[in-house]
Amino acid sequence: MQLVSIDRAFVFLLATLGLFSPLVLVASQAKRARILAIALIVGSNVVGCFVAALCFWRESVVLVDFSSFTPFPFALEIDRLSALFLLLICTVAVPVAIFAVSYFGDHYGKERRNWMWAFFSLFLVSMIVVVTARTGFAFLVGWELMTLLSAGLILMEGDSTERRHNVFLYLLMMHAGAAAVVASFFLFLPYSHSLDFASIRTASGAVPAGTRTLVFLLAFLGFGTKAGIIPLHLWLPRAHPIAPSPVSALMSGVMLKTAVYGFVRFVFDFLGGGPWWSGYAVLSVAAVTGLLGILYAIAENDLKRLLAYSSVENIGIIFLGLGTSLIFLAHHAPVWAGLALVGALLHAFNHALFKSLLFLGAGAISNAAHTVDLEKLGGLQSRMPVTGATLLVACCSIAGLPLFNGFVSEWVIFRSLLAGSVLINTKAQVLLPLTVGVLALIGGLAAACFVKVFGVAFLGRPRSKAAEHAEEVPLAMRTGLGLLATSCVGIGIFPGLLLRPLVSLVQVLVPGAGVPPETVSIARVIPFAAAIILGVSITAALLKRRERMVRTWACGLPGLTSRMQYTSTAFSKPIRFVFSSVYRPDRKIDKLPTDQPYFPVSITYRSVRTTSYEKAIYRPFAEMILSAAHRLRRMQTGNIQVYLLYIFLTLVLLLAFLRFQK
């Protein structure tokens, strides 16, 4: 009885998001219709949360099958893994949608707003399809639609040349990544005879080792592109920042996680672990991704770009967990493999929460101060206290500070890395514990990065008129921010809520994974620590004291201006200096006039960063393809005699081939 109702709720979710709301929005411009549609979007996502939660905690399985209708089997199923990600989508979608109510309202005219909402709703449903798909066909349909719809949302925001270029890059890389995903699905086909997940799972034992390796590589490549692992991340810092903030929140917070889902589904569920070196490959790529991601992030001054790079970093952390898990799997240590997987999945979930919170916060900032350039912000905390508080929560979470959710997942990954020492294999024994150092470095840099974000944007004096006149954002936005911040703190203090079901989820994916006592102990100790910290802090805060306003110390000079504050660029300078080899900046200083170097009229300074991937990998590749195309184009000379010659030559070649065959 109950199962039936969950089924229905899920169908309701799909129908509302995928059909009803978009139709209403497209069909009618009326305010009432829009309100209805938005209410349905929010409501159905709440329902989705419940559905997912029921499936996640109660292990119910929901199955919706459209196969009899569609040309290829199209079925959706919520098993535990899907439930986790469905929960992730819906949990993030609710606050984001609430936030968007006032964001879209402020930014767009009536018609475009309706289209935005329609695409928003469809985007959500496409992601839901991806994570609940039970057949390859359904998965791929959702996968492609997800990209398309997000690109549509980006283009609706505006279509300047630069934006179009970025969207183009995004679409192209996503398509190429999707091709890899398609290939990795289809590689099972000769053995499983259908793309049904169940049959793939059963057939995967019969797949020869070479094909398994190929599947693994393609899945890593395909999902890695979507996730944004370096050097396949090129699109991410370009596409995410230019979307409307709620959409960026969904893209960075949720869409990237579908790639994690896909990778876990493939490598853990289907393959049951890759070849022996797979873990090391993933681990090293992930370490590089995490480290470079955060280093690029810290050097950014555009808040949304910074957040996008930080997503790259967090994807690195997630894959670090996945790689660790694969190493343990390869060395037959399922308990620890399970723990690492728990860490990775939990971090995926946490990152969804705090990254969407951060992007929403960026949206709130742009709403209030009309810019997300850190160099033009400052002093927002006293002007937008609620936004500031929620963003502080997000910054703490993403920096991995205890009492916030980011810490818990990083802790689990740390713990599993440490456990590498119990393995017999020397490589793993050395590598995994050493990776602790890498993760620590990533964590330290992340903390530095988000000190900068919060410190520069919210503290001190405003650096521009707009920031000075910023006002607190409307209630809807605050509600969205508040919901996400609450969940961040909630999970941060009571991680047991998620850890326990995650452990049982992992036991399904990794046979033999017990309940590591670690998960229990961390869940127990954190609330105590929280109690101590909060108790002491509040007690100290309650002590009686007198306060007096005094001008900031300015070495005795009058008139400290906001230009004297440390800027975002200045803040990151030491780190950029130390890691300058990573950035390889293209600096260019032009002094005019050139013949009088000591009496310049103007000096221009330009520094372009992080283009080395483009220069080293993408440009040559693109140029290779384009030059091939141009060569072919020249072969199309326009001379009919040459055309005829082609035909004759083809014929002669084929006849020769025939002769040769004989």
């Binding site: 020249r634 009919i640 005699q641």
Partner: protein, 220 residues
């Protein structure tokens, strides 16, 4: 009777030599009218071949086909060509992109090639090797003419030579296809030539020349 038999035999055995001759002459011809005349002769040889085959194999259909060739390829098409040349008021030069010496060597090479190509087939199909080689040589020559002659009219002529080759192949190997089909093919060729004629006029009108190698606006 004996005389006719002998004549038939002579025609069948010697016509390929004549065909090779026309090929060699075609590739060195400098004037369009010469080429057309050579094509006419070539068609006449083929027509004779058709009649001879028809006589020997007792095929009534072959006479009809032979007559068609005589009427269309030996008389009508050459006449139309001459008319076109007159109407278009174009120069009579074929505008070859190869020198006559090159052309002759290429033609000789093609004849050799066709023998080489036919050698293995001829034995498996049991047809006169000479005839088959001649047909292949005709196809190759037609192709060569189309590729190396810049004049639109010469391309048309090359196409016709090529078609002659195909026809000859059909004739020597299978004694021709069913009559209805054969007539349909002829009809198509006629219409095709008509259209090509229309297009040569249009090319002349729009471009003021008939050099197809200069029609290179559309490319890439």
């Amino acid at each position: 009777m004996g005389l006719v038999e002998i004549a038939t035999g002579k025609v069948l055995s010697s016509f390929s030599v004549f065909l090779f001759l026309t090929i060699l002459l075609l590739v060195v011809a400098r004037r369009i009218s010469t080429s057309v005349l050579l094509f006419s002769v070539q068609s006449a040889i083929i027509a004779a071949e058709v009649f001879a085959t028809g006589f020997r194999e007792r095929l009534a259909e072959a006479y009809v086909v032979g007559a068609l060739i005589l009427v269309i390829k030996v008389v009508a098409i050459p006449r139309a060509f001459f008319g076109l040349v007159d109407h278009l008021k174009t120069s009579h030069d074929v505008k070859a992109s190869t020198t006559p010496t090159q052309s002759v060597f290429i033609a000789a090479a093609m004849i050799y090639l066709s023998y080489a190509a036919v050698h293995s087939y001829g034995q498996s199909v049991h047809v006169p090797e000479d005839a088959l080689a001649a047909s292949v040589a005709l196809i190759l020559t037609g192709a060569f003419l189309m590729v190396s002659r810049n004049k639109a009219l010469m391309q048309m002529l090359g196409l016709l030579v090529l078609e002659n080759g195909i026809f000859l192949a059909a004739l020597t190997t299978t004694f021709g296809m069913p009559l209805v089909i054969e007539i349909g093919v002829f009809f198509d060729i006629l219409i095709g030539l008509l259209l090509m004629g229309i297009f040569t006029f249009r090319i002349r009108d729009t471009f003021d020349h008939l050099d197809v190698s200069k029609l290179r606006r559309l490319r890439g």
